[in-house]
Each structure stands twice: as structure tokens, then as C-alpha cells.
Amino acid sequence: MAASDTVTRVLFEDFTPSSVRLFYVIGYTAIALFAYGVYLQVRKYRRGAPAGISPGLLPRFRSMVATVLSHRTLARRDKQAGAAHRLIFYGFVLLFLGTATITVDYDIVGPLFGTHFWHGEFYLWFSLVLDVAGVLLAGGLLYMMYRRGWLKPPKLDYARPDRAPGDPDYDRSGYRREDWAFLWTLLTIVATGYVLEALRLVWLSDRPDVWDTRWWSPVGAALAQGMRAAGMTAASGGDWRGDLWWFHGMLALLFIALIPFTKVKHIFTAMGSLMFRDPQAAQRLPRVPAQQTHAGAQFITDFTWKQLLSLDACTKCGRCHEACPARAVGAPLSPRDVILSLREFANRTLGAAQLPATLELDVHGKGPGQVAMETLWSCRSCMACVEVCPVAIEHVPIIVQMRRKLVEEGQMDPQLRKTLQTIHKTGNSFGESRRKRAAWTKQLPFAVKDARKERVDVLWFVGDYASFDPRNQKVSAGFATLLRDAGVDFGILYDGESNAGNDVRRVGEEGLYEVLAEANVGALSAASFNSIVTTDPHSYNTIRNEYPDFGGRYAIQHYTTLLLELLQQGRLALARKLGLRVTFHDPCHLGRFNRGYEAPREILRLLGCELIEMGRCRSNSFCCGAGGGRIWIPDPVGADKPAQNRMREAAAIEALQVFVVSCPKDLTMFEDALKTSGNEGKFVVRELIELVREALAQPQSTPAAPIAPAAA
């Protein structure tokens, strides 16, 4: 196959000058429509609040490009969809670059400098690459059609858990139609492109430089062979091509013009959302802006432009819908639907030429596009949705900011209201007297140092549950004993400690959170210590990630890393291997929030336990249901609970003996759920501290909480 140096693709061959002009007019119109659409979207985003994006645009850009090119976030937990999208993405990008190359040659370099590069060997490779790109794109599109039409994964079902059938907002069939229109349009553009290529080859089959190099466009060439075999002449090929050329061209231009008005805009909005993501979105919630006169997000304009932009990035992939523990137990919440509702609301209000009156901007309620309080209160702020979102939508801060408004108006469960008042009054959620916070230490045979009065190496921030809950007090006593046995110089704040506020903040009671954070930062500042250890992942998260905003910067670790160090240094000597078959539950605030996945697993290995992972582990760990203040809100009677759902998952592990937790709330939630899910006797729930204690103990001594043998 000799590559003639003159070979290129005909563009406007045999077109009358007026046809060419018409094409350009339509082309510029499409671009103008695209530009206008972009303007409309940008105007919509600019109606949001300032975002306060941290600096470093270049690193942000680099990280976004790396994420987009690798499809890292898209392939997570759905390899097939990731692979198919990768085909569509690279196919589309190559075809776009190809078209851009022609434009550069024909409309820019040619007219300006009189030179052309789009011919000869370069053209032939160009043809080959684009033909392959078309195959990639079509392959990806066909898989997506197969997925939507036949596989029908539940996460792509747009039925809403927060609306009843018949509700004007329930029907999301518009999205379904758009999905199919998108797939068919792109597929049609690809298919007509190939047919067009084949018709051109048939038409110009008498030109050797075209026909002899036809296999550089393998798909077109194969089709052309078939057309000729079917008896198509060069002349009829040319005729057909004329009509199809306009159809293909118009469809492609229409596609471009519609990008900003349809789901196709995710090409840009997803990149924007990824670029301006907050890597600590759920870990460190935003403070209430000083200039804001009302609390939290009440109006659509209270959201930042970045949040509004990310609403448009959602492609309804359903990963958050699938991961959400509230949705899994039938609560009226799907993170996806919160995002889509707000997007529809923003389009209707902020998308209008004139910004509507403030009253019409209220996003709370049961009307179209509004979010109901039942939905907002269902959230456990476990971060499962934020973690898995491939386009960096940050649902948790959006939900918490909306809850702040509900709290301000007292629209919350009476039990929660009472708990918040109790925490304000006593500094703890148990309503106990402050002076009783350290009462659990009285059961110890040694005194625990008062870190307010003497210098300690390690300050132990105990937290509410570990201080006041009788079951957890035993674990606290165990941990204190471990520290003493290891010779750690440690102390606690006694009644100087208040509820750390992590969950109060996630409830949306920002004012109370500020009071608690300031009180604890004050107490910690007055104490003298080198580092903090905490047995409570919730306290760990807020002290580590949020107290710096309140002037409290401390070296802090969760107890799992400290225990691992003590075990590895031999300061705690294991007396025996436990030989238990266990599974480990990653607490949201230790795992997903702060990436503390390894230390507890390493400890279990040192203890000689056989760790069998549950399907949902590490970053995909399934919330116990207590987060976001839900531990203070009664679950609906009779309804399934996330903790029960988790117990069923664990019960599926054959011969499981111990369900290991490393969070006081987990211990409470799962010991309860073990019974209510009907799995009592099959395995037991234990704190990791209890297992360490048992491995240290001599076999004949009685551990604090003996492990029941697994039922056969």
C-alpha cells in the first residue's frame, strides 16, 4: 500500500460556494449557541455564594487531569462502567482532536500561511487513529445501551425513595429519555461517519491515491467493499454521500450546540467539580459565613458557586445511591436525589433571566426541587456518598448546611432537641453531671493522672460514650490498664473534657459546636502534654481536622495506632495467640474519614486472628447508623436499621466468631443489632481493646469479657 504524498480527505468537493457558506453559517450558529449556553450556566453558578477555594490552581488542575485521564474514580466499584466510559471518553477525545486538526489545517494554517499538513503519511495515520477511535466510542456506547436496556443495575433505577409515585417530582422519565437520546445521538454520529467514509471511498474509487490507501480507514474500507459488492457505483456513492454528509454534519453541530443545555455538559462540569474539590469536604465542615444573616443553607443562593457547579456534574451514575446506608434501609434519602432536586431547583430559579424573589429561592419543603426535612434528617454523614462520587460532588456539607437551617428553626426530632439542650447544659450527651465524667476510673486499682494538674506525655481524650456508657466504661478501664502496663505516661482531662462536638456539628447545631470546640480547645491549651490519643473516632476526626480552625493544633492519634506501636515495640507483650476467626468493621470516622485502615488489621494479625473481610470494608465500610447525630434520633419502629443490615452481612461469613469494632458507638449499635437482627449466639461483638487485653492475659486468668465460642 503506497502512501501517496498527496492523499488527503476531500472536504467541500463539488459544493457550490453558497452551500459552503451555508455550512459555515450553521457551524458558527452552533458555536454561538454553545457559547450562549455556557454563558447561561456560568451566570447560574455566579449567582451562588463565594466558595473560598484554597489556592494552588496548577496542582488542582494537574490532579483533575490525572483523575480524568486515568478514570480512577469512574472505575471504582464498577469496573465495567469504568471501562466502557473510558472507551467513550478516549474515542470522543480522539475524534474531537481529529476534527480540530482539520479545522487548524483548513481554516487557520491554510488561509493564514498557505501551508497544509493534513495529507500524506500524516493523514493516513490520522485516518487510522480516527477509525479506531470511532470503534472505541461505538463499543463504549453499545455497552452502555446494553447496561441500561438489559442489565438494568438497581442503581440506575431513578425511582425515588423520598417521593411517592404520583408526586409531580417522582417521575424522572425525562432523565431516562435524555440518557437514551444522548447514546443514540452519539452512536448515530459515529455510524453515519463510517458510512460517509465508505461512500466517499466508493465515490472516489477511481482515484488511486484514495482507493489504494483505503485500508488506513479499515472500517470505512470494509463497508465500501461491501457497498461495491452490493453493486453501488461511484456515482450513486457520491449522491448518497451528499445527503448523508449534511445529516451527519448537522447532527454533530446540533450535538455541540446542545452541550451546555443537556447532560452532555458533564464533560465540563465534572472537570470543574473535580478541579475545585475539597479533599476534606466531609472531614472538616465549613463554618457559617460571617456575612450571612441567617443560619445555614436556606436559599439556593446560599450554596457556593462550586456547589452549584457540582450539582451539574452529576451523571446519575447511582454510586452514592448504592452506598448510602439510609437508602439501604428504606429511609427517604438518596444522595443522588438530593443533588438532582437541588440541580432542578437551581435550573428553574437561578437559570431564569431575572433572579426570582427571595421567597421563591427557599430550597426547604416538599415542592418540586425542594428537599424535605425527613430526607435531611435521614443522613448519617458517614461520607459513603462523597467517597464514591466519581465527579467530586460533596453531598455531606450540602446536607449539613441545610440542616443548620432546620436546627435554627427547631425542626427536628424532639429527642434530638432534648439531647442538644442537655449537651449545652452538661457538656455531655448523657445528661450526667460534669463531675461524673471520670467516675469510671474509680473501678481501676490505680489512679489516672489529671492532665489539668500535672504534665503528661499522652493526653487521652475519652469522649462521651467511653466515659458514660456502662458497657463502654469497661473498655475504657481496659484501655487505661493497657496504657499503664505499657508504661505510658498518660492522663485525662476529668470534668474539663466536654463532648468533642463532632456529631453536634454534623447535626447542624453549629453554635453549640463552637461552644464545645472552644471549651475543649481551652481545656487542652491549659494542659501540658506531647500528644493526644483518643478511643473515639468521632472525637478523633473533629480534633484532628476541625479544631485547627478554632486554634487547636495537636498531634493526635486513634488508639489503634498507639496500641500497634506499643505491641511492635514490645512494651505490651502478647501471652498467646487468640486464633479467632474475626471480621473487622471500619468505623466511618477512622476509616473513610481519616484513612486509618491498616493499624487495626495489623493488630488483629499480631493477635493471631484470622481476618475475614466483609464485602463492604475499608473505604466502602457500611455505617452503623449512629453518625450525624442519628444516635440521638430514634429509628422508626419496625424499620430495618443499618446496624442490622451490617449484622446480616457479617452473619454470612462462615464460622465467624468475633465481629471486631474500634469505636464506642459501634459497640453500642452492633451489640444491640446483633440481638435485634436475630443473630445472637452466632458470633459476638468485641472492641479491639478487649481482644488485646485477652491476648495479654495468661490463659488461666479470666478476661473482662470472655468470648463465646461460635455456634456450630
Binding site: V288, A295, V407, E408, G410, M412, P414, R417, L420, Q421, H424, K425, T426, E432, S433, R435, K436, E509, E510, G511, L512, E514, V515
Partner: protein
């Protein structure tokens, strides 16, 4: 149009408290202070009238107490009270509910409200008398332990319901100005967010002395009170013992116990 709500900062016992040396009260350090629970409901009831009103209604809260009571008043302002008055003078220390009523009545004369609200009782001393005594001093009609209220600002009377024994409901009408004491559960009190409480901290609280109310020192304190605390104490725990043995033995033991308890008179 004005509504006046009298509130009290009550004391709740901490665990393991101790009695004061003079034996007349609990040591202050063992007391936790908070707004009286009944007052949450009476304030809410007044707030509802204010919010449903078409013409402006001023809601004033009044509290007799030292500076620490400002916290209770701030909570009321956080919930929406327009103005707060605190009455205090060193001489007021040790006043009973009758003396406190003198002070509240004096404030009511100054403010001239259409309705004066009070809690049916306070959770610490539970005399259930301050509101009623105030009505007597003002010579206004009063109604106690309301469970439902309907009043439109400017109306000459208010209608209300009270629960009586045996499941009876008492529906009545009362002429204004009147004193109403409110029962728990009449409504659902709103939540005062910390943000609102902090904002209320910036609002002024008017502090009135005896002189401001033109009351003599003798009207309050021990001299103005009709009752005096003799002592406050924790009663000895009752003792119980099982009497065992045969019927005769049990009877003999019982007689012995009765003799011991009555000093051998029986």
C-alpha cells in the same frame, strides 16, 4: 399591645449534693441553673399569640434574680422575646413567693400588659403560688393550670381550657388584663439554637432595683415574706425488715417493735 411573661431561673440538683451549713438550702455549687420548664411553655404560648398577630405585639420577659439569671432571660430572647427585665436588689435574697409576687406586680403595673403569663409552678420550689399571688396584688382576674388558650391581641377577653379531675374539660373566658398560669404540654416549646442565644447576648437586659419600682426594702426579703424556711434536709431512709419464724414468734416480735417505737406505752 403587650404581653408580659414572668420566668424563673430554677435550680436542679447535681448528683451527691451537700446541704448548706445553716441547714436551710443546698450548697450553691451543687445546683445547676436553668429556665423553669413550665416557663418554656408559657413563653411559647405568648410567642404564638405574638406570631399570629396582625398588629405589632411586644413580648416582655421578667425575672427576679441575680445577674446569673441573665442566662435564662437570654434564652427567652433567643426564642423571640423582644425585651427582658431583671429585678434584683441584695435585699431580695431570701424572699418567698409572696414577696416575689410584689415585685412582679410592680413590673406589671409599669408595663401594663394585656396578659401576664407565668408557669403553673416552678420545678424547684413548686409552691405554684407566684402567678396567683401576683394576680391578687394587681387585683386582676386569674386562671391557673391552662392546657389550651385562644386570644387575639386587642380582644377584651381570652378563652381557655383547663383539665379537671375525671377527664372533664373546663372551658372558660376571662377578662383582660388577666394573669394566666400555664401547664406543661400546652404546646411544643421551640428550640433556642446556640446561634440565637449568642445573638441574644448582645441585646440589653433592663435591670430594675427596688427603688426603680418604688418598693420599700421591707416589702421583700424576710420582712416581706409570709413564710420562712426552717430547715432543708434529706429524710432518713425508711427501714424495713422481714419478720420471720412461726406465727407466734412473728406476733411477739411485732409487739416488741411497737413497744420500742412508742416508748413502751403500748
Amino acid at each position: 399591645m403587650k404581653l408580659l411573661v414572668a420566668v424563673k431561673q430554677v435550680a436542679a440538683l447535681d448528683e451527691d449534693f451537700e446541704i448548706r451549713a445553716d441547714g436551710k438550702d443546698v450548697q450553691a455549687e451543687f445546683l445547676m441553673r436553668d429556665l423553669n420548664e413550665w416557663d418554656d411553655f408559657s413563653l411559647e404560648e405568648a410567642m404564638r399569640i405574638k406570631e399570629a398577630a396582625t398588629s405589632p405585639v411586644e413580648l416582655v420577659v421578667v425575672c427576679v434574680g441575680p445577674e446569673a439569671a441573665d442566662e435564662a432571660l437570654r434564652k427567652c430572647m433567643a426564642k423571640g422575646a423582644d425585651r427582658a427585665i431583671r429585678v434584683w436588689d441584695a435585699a431580695i435574697e431570701g424572699s418567698d413567693s409572696m414577696a416575689i409576687a410584689q415585685l412582679i406586680a410592680a413590673v406589671a403595673r409599669r408595663e401594663q400588659p394585656a396578659l401576664l403569663f407565668a408557669g403553673a409552678q416552678s420545678s424547684d420550689h413548686a409552691f405554684a403560688s407566684t402567678g396567683i399571688a401576683t394576680a391578687a396584688l394587681l387585683d386582676w382576674p386569674h386562671a391557673a393550670v391552662l392546657t389550651e388558650l385562644s386570644y387575639s391581641p386587642g380582644a377584651r377577653s381570652a378563652r381557655f381550657r383547663r383539665e379537671l379531675e375525671g377527664g372533664l374539660l373546663h372551658e372558660m373566658e376571662i377578662d383582660c388584663p388577666a394573669v394566666l398560669t400555664i401547664q406543661l404540654g400546652i404546646n411544643t416549646p421551640r428550640y433556642a439554637s446556640l446561634r440565637a442565644i449568642k445573638q441574644a447576648a448582645a441585646k440589653p437586659i433592663e435591670v430594675l432595683s427596688l427603688a426603680d419600682l418604688s418598693l420599700p426594702v421591707s416589702a421583700v426579703g424576710a420582712s416581706g415574706s409570709l413564710s420562712r424556711v426552717r430547715r432543708m434536709y434529706i429524710p432518713e431512709k425508711g427501714r424495713a425488715q422481714m419478720i420471720e419464724g412461726s406465727v407466734e414468734e412473728q406476733a411477739a416480735r411485732l409487739v416488741q417493735i411497737i413497744r420500742e417505737a412508742t416508748g413502751g406505752a403500748a
